[in-house]
């Protein structure tokens, strides 16, 4: 309490003559109070509040914070806010402090390279977790690795018999797995571009999704799970070439995610989401609620699971154990004390927010889209949910409560895929109308319009180090965008 009085006194001292005070209660994002309620002078703005919070929490480095009063960001001094909104000063004013990323990612604004090479539409692009490598899967049955330095093709990997629908990097960056239309999975070595072992066969129809086991549960990465149209999901072991079948869905599995707490989530066209245990493939839970196909799932910790131990500093790790330790640390800070949250987007135009470990009923139903929701994605800090829909809009929702925040309109065709920047401040969307658009979360406006593709954009990815954006589409070229 000493600090309170000191800072308060210091600030008050200067403006004692003119300024009114207001009772404020600073809380963290889960609603836990930071210090006791205190009197703050009305003329302080976000900068001063930031100083106070940093001092209250005894942060060694000064972290940036954003402040929210009843879900609206505070950008002006308190005084202006109070006058505008006519808030009662009788009660303590709750101010929610959201820690922001300490780094800032520049929005991309130009196309740095258009690389042709694929003979058919580019169906998926993905940056490696450290952001130094790029791979793409295409309808010409090849997987290609691209050299980001020279922006030229590096390896062309042939092996699939049909369209390569999905690709996924292992969180330690040592493997790339690709799944094809004919149902086989192939594991590639990104260093040499060679196929590792034979193709993994077992699925009877095409692959719809691949997800790796998080590195903080098991290092080095060996296991991944794949979902298929035939209604099964399979857990594969890269080195043992064995698989465990997760069967139970009556229709095609559309999406699969390996959660940070060691469970697998699958969403299916039979309107259910199932939760599986990973060692034997037992069904733990079934989440029902959707009225039509479940198209997409997202976890609150998904971004950190994807990047594993790699963060914005670009540090490399030598041993798997070290990597595991760092990844676990990063996972725990992102997750906090709250349980893992899951959001599902569906063909019934709605989304549900679940907390699968607490309740098998949804936490919130998020309505507002007028067409099916094709892709949902949690922001890297878990604070926002973005949803891309065929109604040409991207909507932003609060990541903890599921409340509607804002809608980004601007695309003139269905929005296919979205991708967050690593600092959660920018959102990228790719659409059927052949453009990419960058949206600013803070101002809730279009930041950058990126035309250039000649046809539909099927896949977008923002590299985890924030330097580049890659996009691929029906016009058979891969485009790299830079800031």
């Amino acid at each position: 309490m000493e600090i309170d009085t000191v800072t308060e006194a210091a600030v008050v001292e200067e403006k004692r003559t003119t300024v009114n005070n207001v009772m404020c209660l600073l809380t963290d994002q889960d609603g836990g109070p930071i210090g006791a309620p205190m009197y703050l002078p009305q003329n302080i703005g976000p900068q001063q509040l930031q100083l106070i919070v940093n001092q209250l929490l005894n942060n060694e480095e000064k972290l940036p914070y954003a402040f929210y009063i009843s879900d609206e960001e505070l950008l002006v001094p308190l005084e202006t806010y109070l006058q505008k909104h006519k808030v009662s000063v009788e009660k303590a004013l709750p101010i929610v402090c959201q820690p922001q990323a300490v780094f800032r990612i520049r929005p991309v604004n130009r196309c740095s390279a258009t690389i042709s090479g694929h003979g058919e539409a580019v169906l998926s692009v993905a940056f490696s977790p450290d952001g130094r490598q790029l791979a793409s899967g295409s309808g010409d049955t090849t997987v290609r690795f691209w050299d980001l330095g020279t922006q030229t093709p590096m390896y062309t990997c042939t092996g699939h018999k049909n369209w390569v629908l999905c690709i996924a990097w292992s969180p330690d960056g040592k493997y790339l797995v690709s799944g094809s239309m004919s149902g086989e999975l192939i594991c590639w070595d990104p260093q040499t571009g060679k196929q590792l072992g034979n193709a993994l066969t077992g699925h009877k129809k095409w692959i719809t999704g691949i997800s790796w086991e998080p590195v903080h549960l098991n290092a080095p990465c060996r296991r991944f799970v794949s979902a298929s149209k035939d209604g099964d999901a399979r857990i594969w072991d890269v080195s043992l070439k064995k698989c465990i079948v997760l069967c139970g869905h009556t229709l095609a599995v559309t999406c699969v995610k390996w959660g940070g707490d060691g469970v697998i989530y699958t969403g299916s066209q039979d309107c259910t989401i199932k939760v599986w245990e990973t060692t034997e493939g037992k069904l733990i839970r079934e989440l029902k609620g959707h009225g039509h196909w479940v198209n997409s799932l997202a976890l609150s910790t998904e971004y950190v699971l994807r990047t594993g131990a790699f963060d914005h500093t670009g540090k490399q790790y030598s041993s798997p154990d070290e990597m595991k330790k760092v990844a676990l640390e990063r996972y725990n800070t992102t997750r906090g004390t709250a349980p893992e949250r899951l959001v599902s987007g569906s063909d019934d135009f709605t989304m549900f927010l679940w907390e699968p470990f607490i309740n098998k009923h949804p936490k919130t139903r998020m309505t507002g889209h007028q067409q099916l929701v094709n892709h949902v994605y949690f922001s890297p800090d878990g604070q926002w949910i973005a949803s891309a829909s065929f109604d040409k809009s991207v909507k932003i929702w609060n990541g903890t409560t599921g409340k509607f925040v804002t809608a980004f309109r601007g695309h003139v065709g269905p929005v296919y895929q979205i991708s967050w920047s690593a600092d959660s401040r920018l959102l990228l969307s790719g659409s059927k109308d052949s453009t990419l658009k960058v949206w600013d979360i803070r101002t809730r406006k279009l930041k950058q319009d990126l035309p250039g593709h000649a046809d539909e954009v099927f896949s977008v990815d923002w590299s985890p180090d924030g330097e580049k954006v890659a996009s691929g589409g029906k016009d058979k070229v891969l485009k790299l965008w830079m800031g």
């Binding site: 539409a121 295409s138 149902g183 719809t208 009225g291 507002g368 889209h369 296919y416």
Partner: protein, 260 residues
């Protein structure tokens, strides 16, 4: 007609004859020969009937055999790569080709210029008045002919009471009144049994609209609150238009397509 299960009873009490199995086996073995002899001898319509039946059986058998063959021999699943790759999330969705979309949009534009609705059934057969109404003769001598009975399905609001017979010109028979319709959502491809709110437009004329006559091609308003559709503002939509696609007076039910 047997009045009881006396054969079963006899069998229960006395058992079958000792050579029963043998006789069945022989009868079964002889069946093919008997059938063949019959097939060869039969002439005329009987012959044709037998030949047709035999052909159908043979075709069915061939089909079954082919199916079994397929499951045992491992076939290569369409190994030729097709043109026009699409990502996994678009694979299950029907997508019309680009040229078709373009021509569709042009057509739509033209229609909008002409001020027409774009509905699933753009044209319907006009229904003449004498088909729509039956003349009811009234009066002591049955000479008056001003009363009409509607011969098509109708929708009558829940609060409706009939007028006294002297003033009731149009009778809407209770047997042909409907309150619910089977409405198909064209995108979800599901059908729901929804309540009718009203008749928006009958293509045959405004009089039929106001009478609530439902014929093929009529636009009806249905209660979609249970489908959970939402407006951009997040409010639940409860009334939506649908077009009737069948002839309700013949079928005894109303089938309709939701207009989205």
């Amino acid at each position: 007609m047997p009045q009881n299960e006396y054969m079963e009873r006899h069998r229960r009490e006395h058992g079958r004859r000792f050579d029963h199995e043998e006789r069945i086996r022989k009868k079964e073995a002889r069946k093919a020969h008997k059938h063949s002899k019959q097939a060869q001898q039969a002439i005329g319509i009987k012959g044709k009937q037998i030949a047709k039946k035999n052909y159908a059986e043979k075709a069915q058998m061939k089909r079954t055999l082919a199916m079994h063959d397929e499951s045992t021999s491992r076939r290569k699943a369409d190994d030729n790569v097709q043109e026009g790759a699409v990502p996994a999330y678009l694979l299950d969705r029907e997508n019309t080709t680009r040229a078709k979309i373009l021509s569709n949009t042009i057509k739509q534009k033209r229609k909008e210029k002409a001020g027409k609705w774009d509905v699933p059934l753009p044209k319907v057969r006009p229904v003449a008045e004498d088909e729509m109404f039956k003349v009811v003769r009234t009066g002591k001598r049955k000479t008056k002919q001003w009363k009409r009975m509607v011969t098509k399905a109708t929708f009558v609001g829940p609060g409706f009471t009939r007028k006294p017979p002297k003033y009731e010109r149009f009778i809407r028979p209770t047997g042909l009144r409907f309150t619910k319709a089977h409405v198909t959502h064209p995108e979800l491809k599901c059908t729901f049994n929804l309540e009718i709110i009203g008749v928006k437009k009958n293509p045959n004329g405004p009089m039929y609209t106001s009478l609530g006559v439902i014929t093929r091609g009529s636009i009806i308003e249905v209660n979609v609150s249970e489908l959970g559709l939402v407006t951009p503002a997040g409010k639940v939509v409860w009334g939506k238009y649908a077009q009737v696609t069948n002839n309700p007076e013949n079928d005894g039910c109303i089938n309709a397509v939701l207009l989205v």
